[in-house]
């Protein structure tokens, strides 16, 4: 251990515990604030001051329990911490009444209690009638390696990070030769967590071998995939872990300067990462003489401005340079010519976060979890039609069924009764669609690739029978068209044609030839300059493969069984006497209801099929097919077989 690091560690002290006073951890992160945590914290401080409660309040990041936001964690002296949630701002007072009832700890907190969190990585024990968190379905199956301190430490304190063990791996790396670090990370099998899975250690060797002295390291925190938010929670909850990974990477590649490129939609991540960089620089963990070893590395946070293609590494590099974020042809690869034409290395935020523990514990430890193709653990963000959304960390190779049905709780009941999963949307807008029959897939790249979809950066969205595969394909194609950088005609023109065809199909203009022509556009898009254009048709290609019948029904019969495509349905009043229609008529956005009370009908020309009336007056409104016809013979659909449009997969 370097003396400089020893001094830092000693000054940081030990992690906070509730020895004399109760310790209350308040989750302040994007998802808790969305549920009102900042209002709750203000209320909490007022109440604590007014009542003179002797308590320490610590703001922390997120445990990942998004479904239970806002969460709090209370540790009473001599006890284990208990996680509570949701505790909305208007329940703070009742919550305090319960947990600080006389005698303290004996009040009824069961309305909010989730579980007892164990200390120092151990599983908790049941305490005062509250079960351990490890018995909770959301928590139990997880292997929290990079998430171990999330929601536990104050993300805005370097001392808290040091006390939790951050930068110990860096201290060790400073004693190692750069090539030895690359070798260790490659042997551990730390792969790119952005979806590529390329071994980070091997990528680093390209940069190490590139001529210096000016070499750049880039952290890709432009987590553009809607529905994926693992990088956000990392940066908000444990920013120093990401920094430590980057500084180790700088040591391994002899990089001189780094950029952390964060998407503009994550303002809290920008604030916390900037603060962490400033703290690290002030403590000598960044700068011209890192921990007294003479190593030099500086870092800056670059704020993006809302562009999906900037998640592609060459687009990101252009954006760091202050240009439009247009991807470039590779080669030259960034290790040859990257930021400002200097050798550069781009890794995902989560990739950097896995580096310190891999270095500290070695490759055997790292490979305890995971599979041959994907070693270690992976963070996933799960959402959609799901009981429990949130962020989890599980080993690569775990079953998707376990993740979505056990951890996530599966599809919740809805207005149509018990929910039933219809499919999964993995890997963001370019990831494609999977049928619920494939729920049992192992969470590693190969089985997903075999089915023509991408595992991607960790976003998994479950959808139920109210969603339509064609509608979702249109949605993702529109997204890709909108986010196409416009440099190559293949991509922007191709995605426009795709959107036009899908829009026409969802409006009842489907033609038999479309089934082949979608494949033609797909093949043309494979000539796009970058992955954005090449992956744009994944949604419709996978829909044709995994939801073939549904696509054919749209094209041939102009019918949407899910009643999701507005162009293929019609709302009709079946019971004009239903009193609920009055409110529906008052709220109807296009005033499509005509006729007096008790005789209301819907003017089809004005109706936009938004479904508001069916939600308010389900007994009085029927949703029917706009183009009714005799059902297609079941044999015709069965004879269609596998998709010819899946060529090029």
């Amino acid at each position: 251990m370097t003396t400089a690091f020893q001094a830092l560690r000693d000054a940081a002290g030990s992690p906070p515990t509730a020895q004399q006073r109760p310790l209350l951890r308040v989750d302040i992160s994007t998802s808790s604030v969305a549920a009102g945590a900042d209002a709750g914290l203000a209320r909490l401080r007022d109440l604590v001051a007014a009542r003179g409660i002797e308590i320490d309040i610590l703001t922390v990041g997120s445990l990942g329990l998004s479904f239970a936001q806002p969460t709090l964690e209370l540790q009473l002296p001599g006890k284990q911490p208990v996680v509570y949630g949701p505790v909305p701002p208007d329940e703070i007072e009742a919550f305090l009444d319960a947990v600080f009832a006389d005698p303290v700890g004996q009040g009824d907190d069961s309305a909010w209690a989730i579980g007892v969190r164990g200390l120092n990585g151990a599983a908790g024990d049941a305490q005062d009638g509250v079960p351990p968190l490890s018995a909770h379905p959301f928590w139990g199956p997880q292997e929290r390696r990079v998430m171990d301190q999330m929601g536990v430490i104050d993300p805005e304190s370097l001392d808290a990070a040091l006390a939790a063990g951050r930068y110990a791996a860096l201290d060790q790396a400073l004693d190692m030769e750069p090539m030895a670090i690359c070798d260790l990370i490659e042997a551990a099998g730390v792969g790119g967590r952005g979806g590529g899975g390329f071994p980070a250690g091997r990528k680093w060797k390209f940069l190490l071998g590139a001529p210096g002295p000016t070499k750049y390291l880039v952290c890709n925190a432009d987590e553009g995939d809607p529905g994926a938010f693992v990088n956000r929670i990392l940066m908000e909850s444990d920013p120093h872990l990401v920094l430590e990974g980057m500084i180790i990477a700088a040591r391994a590649t002899a990089a001189s300067h780094g950029f952390i490129y964060i998407r503009d939609e994550y303002p809290l991540s920008v604030v916390r990462m900037r603060k962490a960089v400033a703290q690290a620089a002030a403590a000598g963990l960044l700068g011209g003489d890192i921990l007294g070893t003479g190593m030099s590395f500086t870092l800056e946070v670059v704020r993006g401005a809302g562009s999906y293609v900037c998640g592609e590494e060459t687009g990101l590099i252009a954006s760091v340079e202050g240009l439009r974020g247009m991807p470039k042809l590779r080669p030259p690869f960034p290790a040859q010519r990257g930021v400002f034409d200097m050798p550069s290395n781009v890794n995902n935020t989560e990739t950097y976060a896995h580096v310190p523990s891999a270095l500290l514990h070695g490759s055997d430890w790292y490979r305890e979890f995971g599979t041959e193709s994907d070693a270690g653990t992976k963070m996933f963000s799960i959402g959609g039609a799901l009981q429990r959304t949130g962020i989890v960390e599980v080993p690569f190779g775990s079953s998707m069924q376990a993740l979505l049905s056990d951890i996530g709780g599966g599809v919740p009941a809805n207005d149509k009764g018990a929910g039933k999963a219809k499919g999964i949307q993995p890997g963001g807008p370019l990831g494609g669609l999977l049928n619920a029959d494939d729920l049992g897939l192992a969470l590693e790249r190969p089985p997903f690739t075999e089915r023509g979809v991408l595992l991607g950066s960790g976003g998994l969205i479950l959808f139920d029978e109210r969603a339509c595969a064609v509608d979702l394909s249109l949605y993702f194609s529109e997204f890709c068209e909108d986010e196409s950088c416009g440099r190559c005609t293949t991509c922007h023109g191709g995605s426009q044609r795709l959107v036009e065809m899908l829009a026409r199909i969802t409006q009842g203009g489907g033609r038999e030839a479309d089934l082949d022509r979608l494949g033609v556009v797909d093949r043309a898009l494979q000539n796009a300059n970058c992955l954005h254009g090449q992956f744009t048709p994944y949604a419709i290609r996978s829909a044709l493969r995994h939801f073939r019948d549904e696509v054919e029904e749209h094209v041939r019969d102009h019918r949407c069984a899910a009643k999701a495509c507005r162009g293929l349905i019609r709302h009709r009043v079946s019971d004009p006497a239903d009193p609920a229609l009055a409110e529906a008529a008052a709220l109807c956005p296009t005033d499509a209801f005509v006729g007096p009370d008790g005789e209301r009908t819907i003017d089809d020309a004005a109706c936009v099929q938004c479904g508001l009336c069916a939600e308010l007056a389900p007994a009085a409104i029927v949703v029917e097919d706009r183009f009714p016809q005799a059902p297609v013979a079941a044999s015709a659909a069965a004879a269609a077989g596998p998709s010819p449009a899946a060529a090029g997969a």
């Binding site: 994007t30 529905g227 938010f229 939609e265 401005a305 308010l616």
Partner: protein, 195 residues
């Protein structure tokens, strides 16, 4: 509705002397050739609420670039606005979780009730409906942000009621008031005082 599509071309978008001076001070530390265009645009937008034509020229002068090299990124990146933000901004989440839970229909209801399409402002810039990018607070889906504060778990009827309140003059301060010490989780474009 108020259509600002051609504002950048038809209006000079000149800065007042005091705005120019403030912006000049804010940009003083940015050097040419260091990739500071996005930083400069962010600072300008934070100060003024949007990026007027005059700010583009001023940034170009500071960074020794042509106006076109600033105008390019200013239009390429969706978070930069070349039109003034409305007093009450409804940002509709375009993410897939919201989508599978009815987000597209909510957009339609908001558009029809507010009588403005996505990206437009209502009369006098009192309110506007813009696209918001998913930031992963999907447990609140389907949702919108009103001046950066979440209004979530919307039903179709709930979104119609919300839109009617906004259309009828209730501002963001009433619909989603920020608490003391509010934490910013969406890049909220709040209209600053006019010059």
């Amino acid at each position: 509705m108020t259509d600002h599509t051609n504002d950048a071309l038809s209006q000079p978008g000149l800065l007042t002397p005091s705005q120019s001076q403030r912006l000049r001070d804010l940009l003083a530390d940015l050097e040419p050739g260091k990739g500071s265009v996005l930083t400069a645009l962010h600072r300008a937008q934070h100060e003024l609420g949007w990026v007027p034509r005059g700010a583009i020229s001023l940034i170009a002068g500071q960074l020794r670039l042509t106006d076109a090299l600033i105008y390019g990124p200013a239009t390429f990146y969706s978070e930069f606005r070349l039109t003034p933000p409305p007093a009450t901004l409804v940002a509709w989440c375009s993410g897939p979780t919201c989508r599978v839970l009815g987000g597209e229909r909510i957009k339609l209801i908001l558009e029809k009730t507010l009588d403005c399409e996505l990206g437009q402002n209502g009369p006098n810039d009192d309110y506007g409906l813009w696209l918001g990018q998913c930031n992963g607070t999907c447990e609140q889906a389907p949702q919108v942000w009103v001046n950066g504060r979440v209004v979530g778990k919307l039903s179709l009827a709930g979104s119609a009621r919300l839109a009617q309140r906004i259309r009828d003059g209730e501002g963001a301060a009433k619909i989603a008031p920020p608490p003391p010490g509010a934490v910013e989780i969406q890049p909220a474009l709040i209209r600053k005082e006019s010059p």
